[in-house]
């Protein structure tokens, strides 16, 4: 069964705006990762945040993690048309032996 739930399921914004996606999970985790999937292709790793970290940045990406609320958010600033894709959060459970459990994903569309 899927561990994470992403919100919203779909998001459509104008180019240049910021996009925020949220992920909630149920059990304690070792780390949380975000992946991007362009239509018809495999997933690409974006960023990993450990359970003892609260915020992480990578280029235009900002990820936050609140373990007390079992939730994470991914912020993409100054969006571009090339950011159009599906975004998935994936959680590695404590003692999960590197097993990732993916959410249902958020479909992001950037309108020019």
């Amino acid at each position: 069964s899927q561990q994470g739930e992403e919100d919203p399921q779909a998001l459509s914004i104008q180019e240049g705006e910021n996009a925020t996606m949220n992920c909630s999970y149920k059990t304690s985790i070792n780390n949380l990762q975000w992946y991007r999937q362009n239509s018809g292709r495999g997933l690409v790793h974006l960023i990993l945040i450990r359970s003892n970290e609260r915020e992480k940045h990578s280029g235009r990406l900002r990820v936050t993690l609140d373990t007390s609320k079992k939730s994470s958010s991914l912020l993409i600033t100054a969006s571009r048309a090339a950011d159009t894709a599906s975004y998935f959060c994936a959680t590695e459970h404590l003692r999960g032996a590197q097993k990732l459990v993916f959410g249902q994903g958020t479909r992001l569309t950037i309108n020019p």
Partner: protein, 114 residues
Amino acid sequence: EAGVAQSPRYKIIEKRQSVAFWCNPISGHATLYWYQQILGQGPKLLIQFQNNGVVDDSQLPKDRFSAERLKGVDSTLKIQPAKLEDSAVYLCASSRWGNYNEQFFGPGTRLTVL
């Protein structure tokens, strides 16, 4: 470094037929994963190998699905016999062993069962 390779990219079969998918992970990656991704959903782990041993196959429908990773490198996933609900993209991924490692995904095989 070369990425994860998968073949074929597309496969169309009729129900009750058999099919096999092949994956070549990134060199040096001890852990290999097979996922099933149904349209509109996130990937679901089918089986995880560390070298040539199975770490987790709890969600693999063992009555029809089988997988092997001979010599701890390449892997094959087989479905026999296929059902309509097996229509999905089958993704292979690999990673280094240890905590806090990202997974690298191949392009996937899109299977259509008619």
